[in-house]
Symmetry: C2
DNA sequence: CATCGCTATGAAGTCGTTTTGCTTCTTCCA
DNA sequence: TGGAAGAAGCAAAACGACTTCATAGCGATG
């Protein structure tokens, strides 16, 4: 995670100009309408064609003419009207992003990565959360017609049929963590590999009775993790147990309580995400169960809180920003017809912390925990 | 915080179709070009004008004609081209969102709130992070010309002059947590009130030697909090001390170490944000200083991790999603000329937890901690 | 000097939609 | 049955930028 300016909340109560008037174009004596290419042409005494050529640099324009045009444009502070431009060019220079109703880090990280990449390639991001309602996705996608040149869609919970029906023809699409649909390129977190690594880690540190708290059925990630866990345990010749969860903190706590209540021997819990793992941790603490001495706990995602709970949480980290960036890179490549880009999901990393017996790292400015894998 | 579907990472390694070919319009035998209004008119044997009227429902169209048009439109699955539409209507039905390079909750929450509101009013969100470089803001704003009908800008670190210079004329603007500029409406977190409340809370629980760890100078939030703290302490007739921080975890830890080293009496630390408070907490723990018995610690923001550290962190919560929603509501109101909307920042809440002597709440499904203010 | 060829420029058409006059078709009433 | 009022529908003109085609300028060449 690169260093960033953390956002802090704003200044004092300052509802300046909360009267209705001064908002909008009625703002003082400013120039009201924006200058058009025609205005620039008139100001520079040339035709609109020359202005267009001079400013977009496509064809030859005499030096003196170009200078005159540029000065006129600057004077009027002319900026091409994007709508007209996209109509004329049949390119919007924007890509549509359709995301589920995400919370926290996942959302901001994926959008950050997408924005970084899109911006570097001169594209804009048009956002649309598909709130709980999946049918809403279709609408969201529809309203983007003519506004975007491509679509990046993440829909881990949607049924493939529904999504397939609402995908536009004639528009490049990249799917992220979504069931496969037609021949659209897909970028998915490597759940299988990640889950295998974590299961191996638990086994390697001596755990044998490992329970997986799964996410909701139908969610592509939850399903992949559940299956990956079962496969890894089978490969190790160990009996596997799975409890259904819901990806929420309380679901994890509930699962932990059930686990303790039914009395079966358990020496490790691997939750399908960090929120459930944290719920687990708190439930164990309330019950006086020592983590990691009696039971190890592992999560998935490496949400920020994972570092701060006690014991700190062992988990799998995925570079979500990079995932978003790669999806956009691929999309832009398809739109502009550029050379194919490296198209592969970033590899997850195992982050060993106290909850599975790792040592808590001293919090340092660098926070370079990635290499940590030291047993106490 | 409403219940949501938490996002989980994606399926297994599934880079289907990672060959270059099948992406984009060359996708199989699908209809290549999108249907235009002209196609619909031809299919329904009417003029384009009638199609436009029928579909937008503006003027009288005979029932039979309308039905024929609607069927034709459905058959061709026609969706109006947004670019052309915005050119003709001189309205883009989109608002531009310019944000600093935020991390985590803040970003996702504010965008979530904005998206909710924008979507409800038929608007799209065009996103642009202004990465570290503030000059980049000007560019970002410029490239949105003709693409959006209004701008929501958050720039807590920028100098007013710079921002003022890059604001477009002829476009409504709402500022969020940003220095005042001209007569543009501003929505800011009520730092002053929030800081006063927290300072009072510390004083009320018996603390007298309170130190504030401030954020970086020039940041509008950091400055407001620092001043608010000083004012509140002065009002209480107590000596106040401020240490400079940077809004980062390590800055908080560093400040805490300095505090312990110089040996002055301190019984409470109020950090300008949660990250620094958490850094503090860890530094105190390393040094064997008991929190809250010897020193109370308070933060600001209520980031998710605040609930999970031990001791859990007392902090101020601000409804960021609501802040975003209100900004957009105001903006849309200005664009459409609708009646003025309620335009006021949401009020911050004091969340008392263990780090200032509150009792840790049992983690419950409801997590209704807002009312909690019970001393042990 | 006429011609060729090249560059720089302009006029006009295009993109897809909305909207404004204007024409045509109904329908109703005297 | 004639006329008028009103509803429906059409052709054409925006909207702003890009682009093709045609043309003017102009030096070089035969």
């Amino acid at each position: 995670m690169e260093p960033v300016t953390p956002f802090m909340f704003g200044a004092d109560v300052k509802n300046v100009a909360s009267d209705w008037g001064p908002i909008g174009p009625s703002l003082g004596s400013c120039a009201l309408a924006n200058a058009t290419i025609r205005d620039v042409a008139r100001a520079a005494s040339v035709s609109v064609a020359s202005v267009s050529r001079a400013l977009s640099g496509h064809a030859a324009v005499r030096l003196a003419t170009r200078a005159r045009i540029e000065e006129a444009a600057r004077g009027l502070d002319y900026v091409p009207h994007a709508g007209a431009r996209s109509l004329s060019l049949a390119k919007a220079h924007a890509i549509g992003v359709v995301l589920p109703d995400l919370h926290g880090e996942f959302f901001s990280e994926i959008v950050r990565g997408m924005d970084r990449e899109a911006h570097a390639r001169g594209f804009h991001l048009l956002l649309s959360n598909m709130h709980a309602d999946p049918a809403h996705a279709a609408v969201a996608i529809g309203t983007m017609r003519g506004r975007v040149d491509g679509l990046a869609i993440m829909a881990p919970d949607i049924s493939p049929e529904l999504l397939a029906a609402s995908l536009p023809r004639a528009l490049p699409v990249v799917l992220i963590n979504t069931p496969a649909i037609g021949a659209h390129p897909i970028l998915c977190v490597e759940n299988r590999a990640a889950v295998t690594a974590m299961t191996r880690h638990l086994i390697d540190t001596g755990r044998r009775a490992i329970v997986h708290i799964a996410g909701p059925r139908g969610n592509i990630d939850a399903d992949a993790r559940r299956e990956g866990f079962l496969a890894a345990m089978a490969a190790a010749g160990l009996p596997a147990r799975v409890i259904d969860g819901d990806f929420h903190e309380e679901g994890g706590a509930e699962a932990a309580r059930r686990l303790l209540a039914d009395g079966e021997a358990v020496d490790a819990v691997f939750a399908a995400n960090d929120m459930m793992a944290i719920g687990c941790l708190f439930a164990f603490r309330s019950a006086g169960v020592d983590v990691p001495d009696r039971i190890a706990v592992a999560g998935f995602d490496d949400i920020p809180a994972a570092r701060y709970v006690s014991p700190s949480l062992t988990t799998m980290r995925v570079d979500i920003a990079e995932l978003g960036a790669r999806a956009v890179a691929r999309l832009v490549g398809a739109i502009t017809g550029d050379a194919p880009v490296h198209f592969e999901a970033p590899h997850p990393e195992l982050i060993v912390r106290e909850s599975t017996g790792g040592r808590r790292k001293i919090i340092s400015a660098n926070q370079n925990e990635r290499v940590c894998y030291d047993q106490p």
